[in-house]
Amino acid sequence: MFREHPALLLENLSKQYDDGTVALEGFDLEIPAGAFFGLLGPNGAGKTTLISAVCNLLRISDGEISVFGHPHDSMEARRSIGLAEQDINLDRFLTARETLIYHGGYFGMDDLEARADEMIEAFGLQSKRDVRAPKLSGGQRRRLLLARALMHRPRLVILDEPTAGVDFELRTELWRYIRRLHAEGTTILLTTHYLEEAEELCDEIALIRGGRLIARDTADGLRDHFAVDRLQDVYVKAMAS
């Protein structure tokens, strides 16, 4: 019987940096297509390393990564992934609209202008469409970053702490948009420090520490497993274990 490939499959993934730091060690993870998956862990746990490895921004030391059944460095896999990084990394020479159009161009899109205008409108950037990225406010840059990640209609969207440092209103707005995206069938991989965010949004949560997977389950499952009432307590217990 036909079985859909997982959105993301990591097998025995390891990354050791040149200075000897082991960021990931024998990491296995499978995220089903259509899932809203949360990745939780303290700073230095390996979350961003994992994401960078999936998105071909990092050379892995060992292991395999596949995206919807394709090797992660294949053109098919690259086209399937949309990434919004933790730090704002917008091209300083491009306007908001150009940022989206050029990104779409890099990803081989045809309907660039119409899609860029659609994203500009969806993220409320109409009045800033011809403004260069450095002149946007922090919230506008964050919105543009997310719009860029979604521009080429990826099947797997990776959001690395998308709401870090943003105000309540923007966070709520981003949540609303991400939820709608998920409801339309997009697989979401979210890393966050906000436990309530993970609980609010994610179907399943993985806890990682020191480059290793500690636990993985639904929020309820994790609470049961660690015999506590709150996700915060799960986190504290998991990180202390």
């Binding site: 998105c55 091209d91 890099y106 899109m109």
Partner: protein, 251 residues
């Protein structure tokens, strides 16, 4: 191929948006050399091989302006993209390493050609510089721009701070250009300086371009083109290797 086209567009757009810095400033700087050393002082300087001095210096000045721009453009573009991490948008895109290498190289070539063509037009108007061997000129410029654009890509990838890119421009390329026969024929140099000049790669490029303009040069044009090609190919391969392996980009 779409990704390559858009990366080329992005790199040329950057040059266009900053045209006063990327094109106008180097053109003014080179034209000042022609005005000061050529037209003002040229009358007091004996011509070289029956060529008026103000005409003799034009090929070297155009070469110097172009190679500096090709290098500086790509070194700064890649360094900024790495520093601000927006290079991730390119590295994660469905583009092959050869497309990324070529896309970034094109930016430097575009800027250098904008400067070169501007200087050529002004030089024709000011001193009526001839183009005796156009095919040799095209070959020399093409090889020279591939060499210095690729060198800019490599420097932009290896640089850890901004000073590293300017160090190569100011301490390596500029002095080599100055002693590479831009302002004089190396035949007038006493030994061992004449012989030492033959170890300067920019000397061969300047001579190949001068041959294209004036139909004569200090050394055989084939030797000049051969040396420039022998440098351009491995440096371009080096930049390609960096994008293929991810060395320095994905560490």
């Amino acid at each position: 191929m779409s990704g390559l086209v858009w990366l080329c567009k992005r790199e040329t757009l950057r040059v266009s948006k900053l045209w006063t810095q990327t094109v106008l400033a180097p053109v003014i700087s080179s034209i000042l050399f022609i005005l000061v050393f050529g037209l003002s002082l040229g009358g007091r300087i004996q011509g070289v091989s029956d060529v008026d001095y103000e005409i003799f210096i034009v090929p070297g000045l155009i070469t110097m302006g172009m190679v500096q721009a090709a290098y500086a453009n790509n070194a700064s573009s890649i360094f900024q993209a790495r520093f601000d991490r927006y290079i991730h948008d390119v590295l994660s895109a469905p583009m092959r390493p050869w497309q990324i290498t070529l896309g970034y190289t094109v930016g430097g070539i575009f800027r250098a050609l904008a400067i070169g063509v501007s200087l050529l037009v002004l030089s024709v108007l000011l001193v009526d510089v001839p183009i005796e061997r156009p095919f040799a000129l095209v070959a020399a410029v093409s090889l020279g721009l591939v060499l210095f654009s690729a060198l800019g890509v490599v420097a932009g990838i290896y640089a850890e701070v901004w000073d590293h890119t300017t160090f190569i421009a100011n301490i390596v390329i500029l002095p080599l250009a100055f002693v590479g026969g831009v302002f004089y024929s190396v035949e007038v140099l006493p030994s061992p300086w004449e012989e030492l000049s033959h170890f300067n790669p920019v000397f061969y490029l300047v001579n190949a371009v001068r041959f294209g303009f004036l139909g004569e040069s200090d050394v055989s044009v084939w030797l000049s083109l051969g040396v420039t090609a022998a440098l351009a190919l491995p440096v371009y391969a080096w930049s390609q290797w960096l994008f293929t392996t991810g060395k320095r980009l994905k560490d």
